[in-house]
């Protein structure tokens, strides 16, 4: 008896040892970025590699700010991510409310279309999108990033599933008896109930927009007016000539807002995403 308890404890320790190893592997690149961002380029080039932080972080930050408009591009990224998130939350939840709780001619067809749209890959539309936006003069401005992303099939589908379960018909009927019209039902009855679903969609949308790279790269043609990700990649493109400590500092600082948002919404993101995957 005693030996099996000892054996299972030993197995438990081995288990955690492997899991901690995985944790270290997940975290190491972040640590590495911190190390590099605190050294000068010449120190980085030395062997053996530096594994502990150095004293040059502020110097790297200064070089970074000299080389790119860090706060300007960060502001652009924030503008795009926040606008898109607000618009997506509004348009998607409104459409989802309709699909979840109302009957009308063509509902099945329209929803089927929505699901089909889900599957179309982005690059199929990339060239004509670029051409259309060039024609209407949006290329080079944030509008080119915000408007096409303002509503999406994934969000509508997600919110519809959520609303079907969370909003009870009796609640809607009662509000109708009280004389609430469609918009009041949406705003005062539906939205308060589905706040957790909105939180997931909002955080998810914000992070996707913050990280988006391919479309901003081609749509923002003016190098002085780019999002943070594009600014960073431009910095990296010159790494043959400029210093690596600075590039690393940029990469690291660009992660900070994202990590904050993730830390706030981690439970929602991880839990809901996994649930959705198992259900689907």
């Amino acid at each position: 008896m005693a030996s099996t308890i000892k054996g299972s404890r030993r197995r438990g320790i081995a288990l955690h040892a492997v899991l901690v190893l995985g944790l270290l592997l997940s975290a190491f690149p972040f640590y590495w970025a911190v190390i590099m961002s605190t050294h000068t380029s010449t120190e980085i080039f030395s062997y053996p590699p530096k594994l502990l932080p150095g004293p040059h972080f502020l110097e790297n930050v200064r070089h970074l700010f000299d080389n790119i408009d860090f706060f300007g591009s960060m502001l652009n990224s924030l503008l795009v991510a926040v606008s898109v998130t607000v618009l997506v939350l509004f348009f998607d939840s409104l459409a989802a409310f309709v699909f979840a709780k109302f009957e009308f001619p063509g509902r099945r067809l329209l929803f089927g279309l929505l699901m089909a749209i889900f599957m179309v890959p982005a690059q199929l539309a990339a060239i004509p999108q670029f051409v259309i936006m060039a024609k209407i003069g949006w290329i080079g401005s944030m509008t080119a990033l915000i408007v096409p992303a303002a509503a999406n099939a994934f969000g509508i589908f997600w919110m519809r599933q959520y609303m079907k379960g969370a909003i009870h018909d009796e609640l809607l009927d009662a509000s109708k008896l009280d004389g609430a019209g469609f918009l009041r039902q949406y705003w005062h009855v539906a939205l308060p109930v589905v706040r957790p679903g909105l939180a997931f969609l909002g955080i998810f949308t914000f992070m996707a927009q913050w990280n988006d790279y391919a479309w901003p790269l081609i749509a923002l043609t003016n190098p002085d007016n780019v999002t943070l990700q594009v600014a960073l990649s431009q910095l990296n493109g010159n790494h043959g000539t400029t210093d690596y400590g600075m590039v690393m500092t940029g990469a690291l600082l660009a992660l900070v807002p994202l990590l904050i948002v993730f830390a706030i919404g981690a439970r929602q993101i991880i839990g809901d995403l996994a649930k959705g995957a198992v259900r689907g």
């Binding site: 955690h16 590699p49 001619p105 199929l124 990700q229 960073l232 990296n236 993730f262 996994a274």
Partner: protein
């Protein structure tokens, strides 16, 4: 809605004909259509019309400025014989395979372990998921330094154990391994969390029954866990196929070297030029919009084909 004036109502005889019904339905429900219209309008303008236009474009020659010239099937004929395109398909599939199989294996092992270790489960879940939410550009910059030939951590590691250095980002295989490592790092934890969610839906009495029947842990895994995990495995495979075959930012940021070279070239010998990278190069570097459109449809076909193959593979393995 109920306040529509009586005049608006169609005569009784008309109301029974199928043609009149949708009209009344539409009038009665106009606010519902209005509420869902933003998505459909946006999709029309930035989805449907562009996709239709790209099909049209793929039958033309166009540099994006001058007039379009009808080319018929010429772009697609060229696509079939374009060795650069085939190379990009090969690159993409090799990188995808190098990343996906270790990723699924490690994720499955991690999920099974997480499912049995009760303490600190949320800490592990948080840490394992972190790589997936971080920006690909920042990650590619960091991995670029890890795999750097001159001062990279990988080479320092190799040197420390007495092995020869590898010019990771200068050799065809090194490039692919570096990109695949990055993708594995970014997606393994994500898949582990998904697998874990699947594992938690398996009733524990099934495991008890297996234990009573004398099944060992390995046998239990293959006879009980794996068959029940098929839908989740399918989800993970489809997601990894769709994202993996469309990889763009990873090679683009990792392999862009100097500003005067094309940033879509995919490194020495184009060994890291994936399908989507090739699409960008043809379209926005060469201003060959017609051919770019044909490449995009080619990519779409490859992704669909691969998804179907994966789906059938997972299904058949389960049935056997």
């Amino acid at each position: 809605m109920a306040t529509l004036p009586a005049v608006e109502k169609p005569p009784a005889a008309l109301a029974d004909t199928p043609a009149a019904k949708p009209r009344t339905g539409f009038r009665k429900h106009w606010h519902l259509y209005a509420a869902i219209s933003p998505f459909y309008l946006l999709f029309l303008a930035f989805g449907l019309i562009p996709v239709g236009f790209s099909l049209y474009l793929s039958f033309h020659r166009w540099d994006g400025l001058g007039s379009m010239e009808w080319a018929g099937l010429a772009q697609y004929q060229y696509l079939l014989t374009d060795s650069d395109f085939w190379q990009s398909i090969g690159n993409t599939i090799v990188i995808w395979a190098l990343a996906t199989f270790p990723m699924i294996f490690i994720a499955m092992v991690a999920a099974v372990m997480l499912n049995s270790a009760v303490r600190f489960k949320n800490v592990y879940r948080f840490a394992y998921f972190l790589p997936n939410v971080t920006s690909i550009v920042a990650v590619a910059i960091i991995f670029g330094s890890v795999f750097s030939t001159n001062f990279g951590l990988m080479n320092a590691l190799l040197q420390a154990v007495g092995l020869d250095q590898v010019a990771w980002l200068n050799t065809p295989w090194g490039i692919k391994v570096a990109i695949a490592t990055l993708m594995t790092w970014q997606w393994t934890g994500y898949n582990a969390i998904i697998f874990l969610a699947g594992l938690q839906t398996i009733p524990s009495d099934l495991y008890e029954a297996a234990r009573i029947d004398g099944a060992g842990p390995v046998q239990t895994f293959f006879r009980v866990t794996l068959p029940l995990m098929r839908p989740v495995l399918l989800f993970v495979l489809v997601v990894s196929t769709v994202t993996g075959l469309q990889s763009f930012a990873e090679p683009q940021v990792l392999l862009q070297t100097t500003a005067n070279e094309s940033t879509f070239s995919g490194g020495p010998d184009h060994a890291g030029r994936t399908m989507v990278l090739y699409f960008f190069q043809q379209t926005f570097d060469n201003n060959d919009f017609g051919y770019g459109a044909a490449v995009a449809w080619g990519i779409f076909l490859v992704v669909v084909l691969f998804s179907i193959i994966n789906w059938r593979l997972v299904r058949r393995r389960g049935e056997a």
